[in-house]
Symmetry: C2
C-alpha cells in the first residue's frame, strides 16, 4: 500500500486556511474513528481535528508545516513515521519540530496520528 498520497494530503490540510476545504481534504483521507494525539491535545474525528488545526493557524503567526525527513514505512504493519517542522511568518528556522507515527487501516485510511514534540535524545 502506498501511503504517501494520503500523507501529502495531510500536509495540505495543515497548510489550508479555508476551514471548509481543510475539513474536506481531511475527510478524504481518514477513517471515521480517526484520532490525533497532538503534542497539545487529544482529538477525535475529522471535524475536531480540522478545527484544532485552524486554531493553531490563528494562534501563532503560522506560515507553513512541512515534512523534514523521508516517510519511513514499517515493513510489518500499517505504520509510518516522519519528521515535521512548523515555520512562523518571516522566520528561517522552524518554531517547532517533531515526529509523527501514523497508523492506517487496511483500506489505507488514517486511523491514528501520534505526534511527539522535539527531538528524541
Amino acid at each position: 500500500m502506498n501511503y504517501e498520497p494520503a500523507l501529502e494530503t495531510y500536509l495540505a490540510v495543515w497548510n489550508e486556511r479555508d476551514a471548509a476545504k481543510r475539513l474536506e481534504l481531511l475527510q478524504s483521507i481518514v477513517a471515521p474513528e480517526v484520532q490525533l494525539f497532538d503534542p497539545l491535545s487529544h482529538l477525535h474525528g475529522a471535524e475536531m481535528i480540522a478545527g484544532f488545526i485552524g486554531k493553531i493557524q490563528q494562534k501563532i503567526a503560522f506560515a507553513r508545516l512541512t515534512y523534514t525527513t523521508k516517510i519511513q514505512k514499517h515493513d510489518h504493519g500499517n505504520w509510518v513515521r516522519y519528521g515535521w517542522g512548523i515555520w512562523l511568518v518571516g522566520q528561517e528556522n522552524p518554531v517547532s519540530e517533531g515526529m509523527d507515527v501514523v497508523e492506517f487501516d487496511d483500506s489505507g485510511k488514517v486511523l491514528q496520528i501520534v505526534s511527539f514534540m522535539g527531538k528524541l535524545a
Copy 2:
C-alpha cells in the same frame, strides 16, 4: 501514570536468556492482546513475543539491548517513545539502532509496541 518501571522490565525481557523467566517478566507488564510490530515481524501475545526475542538472541551474537535516549511520554495520550540499540558480543558500536513507540492501556499494561529500525532522516 509512571511507565518507566514497565519499560525497565521490557528491557530486562530482551536481556533475559532463560526462556521461562523471559516470558514471566513479559507477562507481568503486557495486556493479553499485546502486539509487537518489530522491524522483522508482527507478533501477537506474550508467548509469541518472548519466543521471538529468544530467536533473535540465538540468531546473532547478541550481547545486550539498551535504551539510547530518555523515555519521552506523550502529554495527551498513553504513548511513549525512546531510542534503542542492540550490541553484539565484543562490539563497541551497536549493530542495530532504532526507535519504539509504545501504547499502554489505562491500567498501565503494554498494548502495542511499534518498533522502527534506523535513524529517521
